[in-house]
């Protein structure tokens, strides 16, 4: 485990995003985030305040920088499955994202991303249908 006192927040957010996507919100422990970032637990708390603060930083950064990337979709799915029902702050982020979606197919897109996230499909490019 590293003991860096200064760090590049963009890199740390990308490292944490990968963990949240792989393990979900509840399934991610602070130990997982400490291991993935190489930072001290205290540094993570000082920078982001809480595990939810860490997740929100990941969600906001990905929505801003790469709104169509799989990581962003998967973080949205994790947020909707685990957080929006009881976290007002995460609910607000996801609600604002949803309100901005112009596509009439947003529910279909979410469904397709859920199928991709679930790893139940034989391939990545079969549009949700088994061949």
């Amino acid at each position: 485990m590293g003991r860096k006192k200064s760090f590049d927040q963009h890199i740390v957010v990308a490292q944490m995003s990968t963990v949240f996507v792989q393990r979900g919100f509840e399934g991610t422990s602070l130990d997982d985030l400490v291991t993935a970032t190489g930072l001290l637990r205290g540094s993570l708390y000082s920078e982001f305040g809480s595990k939810q603060g860490m997740f929100m930083a990941c969600l906001k950064a990905n929505l801003k920088k790469q709104p169509l990337d799989d990581v962003t979709w998967f973080l949205l799915l994790v947020a909707m499955l685990e957080l929006t029902s009881n976290s007002q702050a995460v609910n607000e982020i996801v609600s604002q994202w949803y309100a901005k979606q112009n596509s009439p197919n947003i529910a279909t897109q979410l469904g397709q991303q859920l199928l991709k996230y679930s790893h139940i499909l034989s391939g990545d490019n079969d549009n949700g249908k088994r061949s």
Binding site: D31, G49, S50
Partner: protein, 117 residues
Amino acid sequence: MENVVNIQNEQLVIEPIGLTKIAALKERIAIPLTHVVGASIDTGIINESKGFRMPGTAIPGYWAGTFRKNDEMTFFNIKHTSLPVVIQLKDEKYTRLVLGVDKPRELVTLINNHVLS
């Protein structure tokens, strides 16, 4: 349960109870909500080195009192059997609090819904 934690009058109020009240050497801690940054469940924090104990107790499996590590002061009041709630503070004597409470997940949600935006 080692602590009763409530939000009253825009303050987070922590009351160590029972024997832990004696061991933790604290009657009550009141923190303005504006100084509370967030709350988390963090099982691993009690397995980490806690640093130097200032006043406090050394009963195995039970941490109570003030610990200093990396220029940070942390107030612990928790048994190893409890699910730790970590509350991050700013502009306070303590950088963070590590507490055992009756309903940890509910407390984390309550605090975060008051302080996160």
